[in-house]
Symmetry: C2
């Protein structure tokens, strides 16, 4: 019996899943050892500390995606240019030389993807496995997809290939405005739960407005005139930012989007999309595991000497 | 002989000018004692420390504008609703009770302005005197104007009245992205001088793009692929943000804008506007002094007992 240790190693989190031959997730685990918190390039030690027990199981291969393959990561993996299908990612897998544990491991890193908009490049790293996994889980080969997050990725998949995508820095803009801007003085410390009507107001205002540069200031003005309770302002700001992220031109004419993210962001983006009359199919972290598993099944066998 | 001490007291700076009866600026002075740096509401002490010599001259009145009239300021002045002409600002001047120096002073604060966009309020405080001053200096009563800054204000003036305006948080977004976002890792510590072609690229990309949420990420990608030298990236980002600020719908069909700001921002906005085929007339701080002087000349005499 062989197993896959699937790793999604981003800037802030290290997540892993143990997957059996049938593709079933046997166990999952995550911790805060994101790439930005690894000192002195001690990547292998961190992986062994968190997942050594699974890695030590006989016949376990390991496939990693995310910032672990960036220039500052463990081993730099390339960006596969769009259009890119699953076999393009398989061909460009980067093996990782591992020996620190005294036992050779079969570890590889999935490449990212790149495309161009009018001569300017865009990149993703870690989201490509979710897009591939979503196709596998939903049994589809063409769709508009969204991986919401700090840097949200809108993507167009056609005939099983990623044909293009756009990054929207929605999560980062929200955090910047929430914590570091003048608006932070109007906002309560706690985000609390979503205020649906305030969020919807924000989305509608973003869609009707000209730019977040302008609409963001309304948070301050609504507070100044007491037009919206302070407790509702974070939801309103979230609606402004997420509504702005819906400006992606590729959404034109789209009737349904596959959204692959955390429960919180999935709910908010689905809500915002519904205000534009766009339906959603929702997936979570399972798409990443399924994507890594699908890539692993297609990669050529590697001989690892024990 | 009477004189006016004209004060522009914003969040970060305290600026003053001594103006004679003819409207000529006799002297100017500025310091870093912005409203945010005044502890324990010691506004009068700060004003006396910086401008006591001018205030002490016989027959000197003092007129102030800016954040000094906010709720957290010295005396809260109202927001005059648009459409608003100079007489509306004169009528709503707020006198300041001053006595700390042992000598009564004739001090008043100019109100701000407010307008609504689709039921959401917008405000300005301090820019209104520049708009009024620009009309006086240029001898015009109708124009599209811009006061660029942390919170840039686009304004439409018709028949001597401010009929509407929009705030764009351009300066603040630039600072947030420059200092606190992931882009800061790609940017050199020093902004250095303007790289014209890089700035123009940014403006054009902002005009062609869908949102700053999207275009901002190109700073990182251009750096990642070495497509733009790092030294040019701050200018490129500045172009992205300023180009985005040009999304104001009121610019539609406008052929010329009066830009009233610092030399650095005036140059950049004029450059960006020229890429849209829009001409500019440029003014600096003198517009604020002229606006305060024009308001002062229209206010009723106040009896101050010595």
């Amino acid at each position: 019996m062989s197993r896959l240790l699937a790793i999604d190693w981003g800037s802030s989190k290290l997540r892993g899943a143990l997957i059996d031959d049938s593709g079933a997730v046997v166990d999952e685990r995550s911790c805060e050892r994101g790439m930005l918190r690894i000192a002195d390039r001690a990547f292998e030690a961190a992986l062994e500390a968190e997942f050594g027990d699974w890695l030590g199981l006989a016949g376990t291969r390991c496939l990693m995606a995310g910032m672990v393959g960036s220039r500052q990561g463990w081993v730099e993996a390339p960006y596969v240019p769009c259009p890119a299908g699953i076999d393009d990612f398989v061909r460009q897998l980067r093996p990782v030389e591992s020996s620190g544990s005294g036992t050779a491991r079969d570890i590889a890193i999935v490449p990212g993807a790149t495309c161009e908009h009018d001569g300017v490049p865009d990149v993703m790293r870690g989201e490509e496995i979710k897009l591939i996994g979503a196709m596998e889980l939903l049994g589809i080969d063409s769709a508009t997809m969204l991986s919401p997050g700090t840097h949200s990725k809108w993507a167009t998949v056609e005939n099983g290939r990623l044909v293009g995508f756009s990054t929207m820095m929605s999560g980062e803009f929200y955090a910047l405005l929430r914590r570091h801007s003048i608006l932070s003085r109007s906002l309560p410390a706690d985000d609390a739960t979503l205020d649906g009507p305030a969020f919807d107001d924000g989305v509608r205002r973003a869609m009707a407005g000209s730019s977040l540069l302008q609409t963001a200031f309304s948070v301050r003005c609504l507070d100044l005139f007491g037009r919206l309770p302070r407790a509702a302002l974070p939801s309103y700001l979230s609606g402004l930012v997420i509504g702005e992220a819906l400006r992606w031109p590729g959404l034109e004419g789209v009737r349904s989007v596959v959204v692959i993210g955390s429960p919180l962001l999935n709910e908010r983006f689905a809500r915002a999309l519904s205000l534009r009359g766009i339906g959603t199919r929702i997936l979570g972290e399972e798409a990443a595991w399924r994507g890594l598993w699908a890539i692993d099944r297609r990669r050529p066998a590697r001989v690892v000497e024990a």
